[in-house]
């Protein structure tokens, strides 16, 4: 069974090839069958492999499969080798399953669009690249997947290419993430130069032997990888591309910009966790970046009107939680939150997609309203997703994963009260903006008419993901609630457990109660403002510092403006000033000077004999003088 591993990425790639080569000649039905089917087959295969992997784990809890030697120059020997362990298994499970349901959803959602087969070609290419990213056994193959998903993200954000604003958003995403990727590439040079290999497992073995903790090399390597991670995962300071990326079709936002690609940074850090352990300063930076990002994005989400932008900022914020978890060494908790987040955030995006679909591309929440009765399935599933995002205690998956991160942030060896407080504040804000979204969209007066009903292909994925958003949390329960450790136990074959300083059930309970109160309070505030008395919100943002703050948050803390002023505009200006290349002036100058000499000398050729005779005489005198006196 495990030998079939290569088929998991190969099937979507094959789907891409067929669609890219023959897409224009295929009917919509066959394009959908190929596009959805290839990912579906991968998902089934993943299930089989997962069962086999868990029931009878291979030696060392890892399985590798070499397909071919990619490059072999000197010591540089990266191969196309797939590596399956607990960490990559969780990732390929989420990618293929969530991916499959999003593909299924798209088959109806995109049906009316031009470029239907092109859409599925890009989506399949994305899934294949993402699987390569998480299955690659060396950093170069990982980098291949990493850039591949970046390309697909670019292609899909700009899917509706006729609008040049979409093109701008797509290029922004590509260029900003490429800034991070470049840092990562330099990290790869450094790692290869130090260890003579890019094989991840070998690196993780050799690094602790050859590098001491906090050595310059280790700090640099970890910092450069972090650079790549913040770019891809839209964390501070490279988060600016993700909100604009919402220009793409909604299934794309669900798959790429919520569930999978943006968590690649989390995967990278978890995968190379040993390097971060060797550089505690950088690991702390990971936690701080996470904490700041989750707060910043949370406040921004409070003010957005576009439902997809709310979800985009909430994605940035939730990945902030994952970074926070990674930064305090809660590796398994971060991966756990990645998994539950993939379910509920994909669900929310797909739910938002349905609303946008039935309201004719309306994105503004304040023009929706009253959809609760008209779209019951969407409402209930969206509510479940929102509850999970807000970490509603006990019944939602989001509660268990977020609680696990918060617990380790407080009690873990690398934990810190301030980071915990940031996480708690974030949870409070999350519940406000999430339920603001729910109340504004589904309650109150109806602002727009529904034109058509969502079909089965839209509803089935919503229901399945809603179920997962509830039950996925039960595989890992805290000490206070049954103490089940299926997930973290499974992960420990790939990621080290987190050391806890004060193991105390009563403390854990206290923290959980505090967090629960924060969440419930947030929901109540949202209820109070957006259902009972809308004027509060209007008054708050109408004038004075409230309005100023609102504008500041609404613009995403002014990052775009700062980057435009500091980098984009000066560089564009610099490119434009010297369009014709001043160096050319040197050569035209030389040419001009010679032509001038030529012109002057031509003037001596007058054709008059006496001028020539004078010239000869003068020349003769000079020559004689020189000969005589020298």
């Amino acid at each position: 069974m495990l030998e079939l591993l290569w088929l998991i990425p190969a099937l979507p790639f094959a789907g891409f090839l067929i669609l890219a080569l023959f897409g224009s000649r295929l009917s919509r039905q066959s394009a959908a069958v190929i596009g959805v089917g290839s990912v579906g087959l991968s998902a089934i295969l993943t299930l089989g492999i997962a069962i086999r992997f868990i029931s009878s784990p291979p030696a060392d809890h890892a399985f590798s499969q070499m397909l071919w030697q990619w490059i072999s120059v000197d010591a540089f020997q990266p191969a196309i080798t797939l590596y399956l362990d607990a960490l990559s298994l969780v990732f390929i499970f989420v990618i293929t399953f969530v991916g499959f349901f999003i593909h299924l959803y798209s088959s109806l959602f995109m049906y009316e669009e031009e470029g239907y087969s092109r859409f599925f070609a890009y989506m399949n290419l994305f899934v294949g690249s993402m699987l390569t990213l998480v299955l690659g056994n060396n950093l170069l193959l990982l980098y291949l997947g990493w850039e591949g998903v970046g390309l697909c993200s670019y292609l899909l954000i700009g899917f509706w290419y006729k609008d040049s604003e979409n093109g701008y958003a797509a290029r922004k995403a590509f260029v900003v993430t490429r800034v991070g990727d470049t840092a990562m590439a330099i990290g790869l040079f450094l790692l290869f130069t130090s260890f003579g290999t890019l094989d991840i497992q070998k690196l993780l073995q050799q690094a602790p032997q050859e590098w001491t903790i906090n050595s310059t090399q280790a700090v640099l390597a970890a910092a450069l990888l972090l650079g790549g991670a913040v770019g891809k995962s839209a964390q501070l300071p490279l988060q600016t591309w993700l909100p604009d990326a919402m220009a793409g079709p909604t299934p794309v936002s669900a798959l790429i910009h919520a569930a999978t690609m943006v968590t690649a940074g989390v995967y990278l850090i978890a995968r190379t966790h040993v390097l971060f352990t060797l550089a505690p300063a950088v690991q702390t930076a990971v936690a701080v970046v996470g904490a700041l990002t989750l707060l910043m994005a949370g406040f921004t989400a409070l003010t957005q009107r576009d439902i997809k932008r709310v979800l985009a900022y909430s994605t940035i914020s939730q990945i902030g939680y994952m970074f926070l978890g990674l930064g305090v060494g809660a590796w398994s908790a971060a991966v756990f939150h990645f998994m539950t987040h993939a379910f509920f955030k994909a669900l929310l995006f797909l739910g938002a997609g349905v609303i946008i679909f039935v309201l004719h591309h309306e994105h503004d929440m304040f023009k929706m309203g009253g959809l609760r009765k008209k779209l019951p399935v969407t409402f209930w599933t969206f509510l479940i997703g929102s509850a999970s995002l807000a970490a509603l205690p006990l019944i939602t998956a989001g509660f268990y994963s977020k609680d696990m991160i918060l617990w380790y942030t407080f009690a873990g060896e690398q934990g810190n009260d301030w980071l915990w407080a940031a996480g708690l504040a974030g949870a409070f804000i999350t519940s406000i903006y999430t339920f603001r979204m729910v109340f504004v969209t589904f309650y109150g007066e109806a602002q727009a008419e529904i034109t058509h009903k969502p079909g089965m292909q839209l509803k089935v994925p919503l229901i399945v993901l809603a179920v997962f958003s509830l039950i996925a949390g039960f595989i890992e329960l805290p000490h206070t609630l049954g103490h089940l450790t299926l997930f973290s136990h499974f992960m420990h074959s790939a990621l080290p457990p987190t050391e806890v300083l004060h193991e105390s059930v009563s403390l854990e309970l206290l923290l959980q109660v505090i967090a629960a109160i924060a969440v419930l309070l947030g929901i109540y505030i949202a209820y109070h403002i957006f259902i009972r008395n809308r004027s509060i919100a209007n008054n708050l943002t109408a004038s004075g510092p409230g309005a100023l703050l609102h504008r500041f948050w609404y613009s995403g803390w002014g990052f775009d403006k700062v980057y435009d002023t500091l980098f984009v505009n000066p560089l564009v200006w610099f490119a434009k000033i010297n369009r014709n290349d001043f160096i050319d002036l040197i050569y035209t100058g030389i040419a001009g000077t010679s032509r001038e000499f030529h012109r002057q000398l031509t003037r001596t050729q007058t054709g008059r004999l006496r001028w020539y005779a004078t010239g000869i005489v003068i020349g003769a005198i000079i020559t004689i003088t020189v000969v005589v006196y020298l």
């Binding site: 072999s72 120059v73 290419y161 590439a185 040079f189 490119a575 010297n578 160096i583």
Partner: protein, 517 residues
């Protein structure tokens, strides 16, 4: 013997094509196609036969050679030889040569015979450059490829062709003359040292030259090659020549002529002057990075699509200088890969621009936009090669640039980091191509045909090659390995000698110091 045939087929084909113009208007095209095709098949067969052989260490680096006396009084011989590096370059030459004939099929309408004569003679000259091992013969072929190219630009080029042709000719000719001086200097010094006056590459290799003289001689070669490459600030002929040349001319210029510069660095500058090259390394790396960044900046600023692509060449060839002077196996393999992949990817972009120009009669990107819907095949191809140009993994250019950067990192972290920043710049200008031409609002209601079968065959084969190079580069790397290894070995030998020298020098100075005390 096969080496002579490779060149002779092209030359004879060229003459026949010229004559045949009067027989039938398509005759020159078919003759050129057959000549280039036969040459391509021959080289491909040689490569396939030697695929297992070339990477064997211990065997001679040289696969074939022919050596005839030419002007024995002056020690000039007709000496051709082929090793892995030459073989790869010959493969690239014949492949792009063949495609150039195909893409000119409808573009060239006037003086078809003379056009194909020039085209084939340029290819013959390039083939000679890649195989000649007599320095006089090398210079001869260097000129053979220059003159027909001058005609190609000057006769079949676009609006500003005469200016561009002159500029091309003067830059290349002036720098070529410096090389001739250096060749003669080397010839005389070697003759004086040994009494054996010869232009034979192998005899000249170990010439004992004082450091000062060697520096001057190297500069002659170096300038000729980096003008051709081109390196900033000697790149100014390139945008004009590339932009004004007909499509086939641009493909050959970018794909092959630039590579003769890189080849010259690898074949002559480094082996003939290892010590000086070593000293020159920091300056060369700076030149490389300057080219990468400055070329990218200029590319971004252009509104003439062809000029934009031309400037990307300056940027990409900067990587080659960086690599050649890093002089370790990784970087050198990267340089060879870059020569091949840049030839394919930039060649493809020039063909695309040429096809676009044929259809809408402008190269100004401000008159394009929103063309994807009308010409999806062109869009797809353009997208793929824009990705190649920005170094997307999975395509050959990534392998090349990554190897170069990893290799260069071991020599200079500073310059490598700056060169890596070039990758961001490449992203910016490559995406600009896609955006301005294919995406965005339709400027007007385009009524143009998409790529036809002939053009898709050309593009399809280039896509296949660039993807194959990205995923299975090993057969190319193996072919070049032997040549590049011997380059490094020579460096190691020279280096040890150099170190012993400097040690004795140090001892002497310390002795001197004691005396002074």
């Amino acid at each position: 013997m096969i080496l002579i045939w490779l060149i002779a087929i092209l030359m004879i084909g060229g003459i026949l094509a010229w004559i045949s113009q009067s027989w039938h208007k398509n005759a020159p095209r078919w003759i050129a196609l057959i000549a280039a095709g036969v040459d391509f098949v021959l080289v491909a067969v040689i490569w396939l036969q030697n695929l297992s052989k070339v990477d064997l260490t211990g065997q001679s680096q040289w696969l074939f050679e022919v050596n005839y006396q030419w002007i024995p009084q002056w020690g000039i011989s007709f000496f051709l030889a082929m090793d892995g590096l030459s073989l790869l370059m010959a493969l690239l030459t014949t492949f792009l040569g063949l495609l150039s004939v195909v893409v000119s099929w409808t573009e060239i309408k006037e003086r078809v015979g003379f056009f194909h004569f020039n085209l084939l003679w340029i290819l013959a000259g390039i083939m000679g450059v890649f195989t000649a091992l007599d320095l006089f013969l090398f210079y001869f072929f260097w000129e053979v490829m220059l003159v027909p190219m001058y005609f190609l630009i000057g006769i079949w080029g676009h609006e500003n062709r005469i200016y561009a042709a002159y500029k091309f000719f003067i830059f290349t000719q002036a720098s070529g003359l410096l090389m001739l001086l250096s060749i003669l200097g080397l010839y005389v010094i070697h003759g004086q040292n040994t009494g054996n006056y010869t232009f034979n590459y192998f005899h000249l290799l170990g010439t004992d030259i004082s450091l000062f003289t060697a520096a001057w001689l190297m500069l002659g070669f170096l300038i000729a090659f980096i003008v051709k490459l081109p390196a900033v600030p000697f790149h100014n002929w390139l945008p004009d020549a590339h932009t004004e040349a007909p499509t086939a001319g641009s493909v050959i210029l970018a794909g092959l002529l630039l590579k003769t510069g890189a080849y010259g660095l690898l074949r002559f500058v480094i082996p003939l002057f290892p010590d000086i090259s070593e000293l020159f390394t920091p300056a060369a790396m700076m030149l490389g990075v300057l080219g990468i960044l400055y070329g990218a900046k200029l590319a971004y600023a252009q509104i003439d699509l062809k000029r934009l692509v031309a400037y990307t060449s300056v940027s990409h060839m900067g990587f080659v200088i960086l690599a050649v002077f890093s002089l370790n196996e990784l970087a050198l393999q990267g340089a060879v890969m870059q020569m091949i992949c840049h030839g394919i990817s930039t060649g493809a972009l020039f063909i695309l621009v040429g096809a676009m120009h044929e259809r809408i009669h402008t190269r100004n990107i401000e008159d394009m936009g929103g063309m994807w819907e009308t010409v999806p095949r062109m869009g797809g191809v353009g997208m793929l090669f824009a990705m190649a140009s920005l170094g997307l993994p999975g395509l050959g250019n990534f392998v090349a640039e990554f190897l170069i950067l990893v290799g260069a990192y071991q020599v200079s972290i500073f310059w490598t980091v700056l060169a890596t920043v070039g990758l961001i710049a490449a992203t910016v200008y490559s995406l600009r191509i896609v955006q301005r031409v294919f995406h965005g609002e339709k400027i007007k209601d385009w009524k143009i045909p998409d790529f036809n079968v002939r053009e898709m065959v050309v593009m399809g084969s280039m896509i296949a090659v660039i993807v194959w190079l990205g995923l299975f580069p090993q057969s190319v790397l193996n072919t070049a390995k032997h040549t590049l290894n011997s380059l490094q070995q020579r460096k190691v030998i020279e280096q040890t000698a150099w170190q012993t020298d400097s040690q004795t020098l140090n001892q002497n100075t310390s002795e001197n110091k004691t005396i002074i005390k």
